[in-house]
Symmetry: C2
Subunit: 464 residues, 2 copies
C-alpha cells in the first residue's frame, strides 16, 4: 500500500517534471525544477534495503579484493551479474593489467627490551625478507631530518620512523618513501608507525615505492603504540631489538577489469556525467569503507534513477575502477585506452566516492568558479538529508584525477571523516563501521547531483 | 624560583590551617577550612611529573601483571622500592596466595565459509583444548534464551554467544557463565562476542567460572566483528566451522602481595581512611588504565600529602590490592587476615580508583545518606579541576566491596568512562590511552577527598 502511494506521488512528479522541462529554458531555478525529483530520489533510496544488503553481501563474500587476486575478480563477476539484473542500458567491463603484489606470511617480534609479538602489516609493494626473518637493532627517529642527522648510526640497522600523525598528507610520506630514505643511509630494513591518529593496536598497510639506484629493503608498519613504546625505551637508553619476517613479493601483472554501466542520455547521449569508486581494496579487513561503500553508493544512485524511469538529457556513466590502491591502472587505462578518441572532452563532470561513506554533508569540487553557484543550488536540493555544502577542492578522487588532468571538472562526496583514518587500510575496515542510514544518504546525494548535472540545460564544464 | 614561591604559599596556608583547626569545632564550613589546602594539593600534583613518569615506567617495564606471574611480583618489588624512597610512615607488603592461571599459546581460525585467522583471547580460568585444536561447527545464538530454545542443535557443537552489548553488567554474564550454559546443553566448546560497545578487531579477555557438576569446556572471546559476521552468515544459511587452540591451564596457587603504605594520623592514628587500587592486571596490553593508573593516582595522593607536610588527624592508608582480576584474593585477605581484630570498624572510608583514570568529574558513594552533604562540600573544593559531583552508588570498587559488606562506607572515583570498555582487558590498554593532565586531576581529587575525610572532626562513617 505504501509502495502504491509512492508510485502515485512519483507519477505526479513526473508530470510536473515533464511540464517544467518543456517550459523552462534556463537552469536559474534549479530548486523549482528539480526539488520534487530530488525528494523522490531521496525517498526511493532511503526506503530500499537492496543497496545495504548488496554491500553486506559484497564485503562478507568478497573481502580482501587486492589487485591480482581471484577474490577481486570474483567480486567483479558478482557485481556485473547483479548489475545486469538491474536493467541498465549498458553493463560492460574493460580489461586492465594490474600489479600483482602478494603479502604471504609475515610476523614481527620484539626481542628486547621486552619479548612479545607485535601486530604488523607489510607495506604494499615491499620486498620480503629473503626467506628468513631479519633480526637487528632498531634506531628510532621521529622524522627524515633526524634520520639524516643520525646517518652514521644507520648502516646495518633497522630504522623505525615514529612520525606523529598530524595530517595524512605529511605522515604518508614515511609510508611511501621510508624504505628508500632509510636504505640510502645503509639501513637493512625499515618500520613505520602506522599512519593514523587513533589506534587500538591497529597496524595500517598501504602503498610504498622504491627509487631506482637505491637498494630495496623490506618495510612494514607497526602500531602507534609499539612505535611510541620503542621511542620511549630508546630515550631511556635501552637497546631495542626486533625480528621480522615477510614473504611479500611482486608477481607478474595480472588481468583485472573496470566495470562500466550506463543510463544513456535522451538528448545528448555523447555527453557523460561519470560517477565512480574503486572496487579493489587492500588485502586486510573487508575494504568496506574503502571502497566497497563508494561502489554501492554510486551503483545505487544509478539504480534509483533507472528504477524511477528518470532519463536525463546526458548519459550517466557508472565506473567502478580497478587497482586504485596500488597502481591506479584502472583509472589511467580508463583515460588512455578505455574511452574513445575525443571522449574525454565529453565528460561534463566526474564524481567519485572514496573518502568513506559516513554521514554526508556536501561535495568538494575542482573546476571553474562559475560552476560553483550552480552546484550549490543543486546541493540545496539535498538539505533534507543534511547535505548542503559545496567547497573548493575535492577529496577521495584519485581515480578521476587523470581525467581532471585533461580538464574534466571533478567532485568528491564530503562525509564526516573523523574516523576515516582510524580504519584506513586495516583489518578493522569492515561493514561494522558503517550504517545503512549513512550509506543511503550518500547514495541519495550522488543520485541527485548526478541526475541534475546530467539533465540541466547548461553543460557544467562549459560554465566559466 | 617558582618552587620557592609555592613553598612560601604553603607555609602561609599551613599557618592558616593550623589556626582554623584550633578555632573551629565543626565541619560545617569545609570550604573555609580546607579550600587553600585543597588548592595547594591540586597545584602540587598538577605541577609535578613524577607520577606520570612512574606510571609510564611501571607499564613499560612491568606490563601483563597477571596473578601468579613473575612480572606482577617484579612490579610490586619496584613499587615498594619507590615507595620506600617517598618516606611514608610505613611501607609493607602482606602475603596473599593467588590463583595462577596461564594462557600459553592460543589461536582461532575460521575454516568455513571463509578461511582466515581470527583475533581471539582465551578467557581467564578456562581450560585448554587438550593439547590439540578443537574443530567443529559453530551454532550462533544471540542470548541464553535462544541457546535454551535450540538445545537439540547444541550437542557436539561450538556455541558462539553473539550477545550485543548494552550494559557491561548484562553482557559480562556471557563471559562468566557462557561455558557452563553451553556445556549444559552438550556443547564441546564456547566462544563469546567480546564484551564491549566498540571494536577495532579487538578481543577482550576476562574472568569466567565453571559450575560444579557441569562439564568444563574451553571458552574464548572473539571480536565483535567476527561474531557479527558469523551470525550474518548463519542467517544466510551458511555452515560455520572454526578451529581453535588453547594451552590454558590453572597451576597451583602462587604467592603474591598487597602493598600497604601509610601516613599515620596525628590524633586518631587507629582510625583509617583507605585509598586503593589493584596492582594486578590481565596478561595482555599494559594494564595501564586497569589499573596501573588507579595505583599511581592513589599513591600520588599520599605522596603529595606527605610532601606538603600535611598530617591529618586520622591515618591515610594506601592499599594496592593484588589479584582483583581473577580472584579478589588480595581484597578478601586484607579484610580477613591482613588487618587486625576489630580494625575493620576503624575504617572510616575506603576509596578505590578502578574505573579508568580519564577526565574525573566526581565520586560515587555507598554509605549513609547523612554523609552525602559533607562529601558534596568536600567535592566542592575540587571545582577548579572540574570535579564536583557526588552520586549515590560507587563504581570501580571491587577490592573494597568486602569492607563494605562489613559496614565500611566506600567510594569510587567517577571519570569520563565513554571509552573505558573499548580498552577493558585488551591489548589496547596501554599508556597511549591516558593523558598526564587527566591522571594528575584524578590524583588531586583523591588527595583532597582523602585528606579532608581523614582530617575533619566528624568521623564520616558515624554520620547517620
Amino acid at each position: 500500500m505504501l509502495k502504491k502511494l509512492i508510485y502515485l506521488t512519483i507519477a505526479t512528479q513526473m508530470t510536473l517534471f515533464a511540464l517544467l522541462s518543456c517550459t523552462s529554458s534556463s537552469d536559474s531555478d534549479i530548486q523549482m525544477k528539480y526539488q520534487s525529483i530530488a525528494d523522490t530520489l531521496i525517498d526511493e533510496i532511503l526506503t530500499d534495503d537492496t543497496m545495504w544488503d548488496r554491500l553486506t553481501h559484497l564485503v562478507d563474500y568478497y573481502p580482501r579484493r587486492l589487485s591480482g587476486s581471484q577474490m577481486l575478480e570474483d567480486a567483479i563477476d558478482w557485481m556485473v551479474s547483479e548489475m545486469e539484473q538491474d536493467g541498465f542500458d549498458e553493463v560492460r567491463t574493460q580489461d586492465v593489467m594490474v600489479p600483482h603484489w602478494v603479502r604471504g606470511n609475515e610476523f614481527a617480534t620484539l626481542i628486547r627490551p621486552d619479548q612479545r609479538n607485535m601486530p604488523m602489516l607489510g607495506l604494499g609493494g615491499s620486498i620480503g625478507t629473503g626467506g628468513h626473518p631479519i633480526r637487528g637493532e632498531v634506531i628510532v627517529v621521529k622524522d627524515f631530518d633526524e634520520l639524516d642527522a643520525r646517518s652514521a648510526d644507520i648502516p646495518g640497522k633497522i630504522v623505525l620512523f615514529n612520525y606523529e600523525y598530524e595530517t595524512y598528507g605529511q605522515a604518508v610520506q614515511y609510508r611511501v618513501h621510508g624504505a628508500t630514505r632509510a636504505a640510502a643511509h645503509g639501513a637493512k630494513a625499515a618500520l613505520i608507525r602506522s599512519v593514523t591518529q587513533f589506534s587500538m593496536q591497529t597496524p595500517h598497510t598501504g602503498g610504498m615505492r622504491y627509487q631506482e639506484g637505491i637498494p630495496k629493503i623490506p618495510i612494514a608498519a607497526i602500531t602507534v603504540e609499539d612505535a611510541s613504546y620503542m621511542h620511549r625505551m630508546q630515550n631511556r637508553g635501552e637497546t631495542i631489538e626486533v625480528e621480522f619476517y615477510m614473504e611479500a613479493e611482486t608477481l607478474p601483472d595480472a588481468l583485472s577489469r573496470n566495470i562500466i554501466a550506463e543510463i544513456t542520455g535522451s538528448e545528448k547521449p555523447e555527453e557523460i556525467v561519470l560517477i565512480g569508486c574503486h572496487i579493489d581494496s587492500w588485502d586486510v579487513g573487508q575494504g568496506a569503507m574503502d571502497d566497497a561503500g563508494g561502489c554501492l553508493v554510486t551503483w545505487e544512485a544509478l539504480r534509483a534513477i533507472h528504477n524511477l524511469g528518470l532519463i536525463p538529457r546526458r548519459t550517466i556513466r557508472l565506473v567502478h575502477f580497478t587497482n586504485e590502491e596500488n597502481g591506479i591502472r584502472g583509472a589511467i587505462d580508463y583515460r588512455d585506452k578505455v574511452i574513445g578518441n575525443g571522449e574525454i572532452k565529453q565528460h561534463v563532470l566526474a564524481l567519485e566516492v572514496d573518502f568513506g561513506v559516513f554521514t554526508p554533508h556536501g561535495f568538494g569540487f575542482t573546476g571553474s568558479d562559475g560552476a560553483m553557484p550552480v552546484l550549490r543550488e543543486i546541493a540545496g536540493l539535498l538539505s533534507s538529508i543534511g547535505v548542503t555544502e559545496v567547497r573548493e577542492g575535492s577529496s577521495g578522487t584519485v581515480d578521476i584525477g587523470p581525467l581532471n588532468q585533461e580538464g574534466v571538472p571533478i567532485m568528491g562526496l564530503d562525509v564526516d571523516t573523523e574516523r576515516y583514518f582510524w580504519y584506513h587500510h586495516t583489518h578493522a575496515d569492515t561493514i561494522d563501521i558503517l550504517t545503512k542510514e549513512d550509506v543511503q544518504k550518500c547514495a541519495a546525494a550522488v543520485a541527485v547531483m548526478a541526475f541534475v548535472v546530467a539533465d540541466m540545460e547548461q553543460r557544467l564544464d562549459k560554465i566559466e
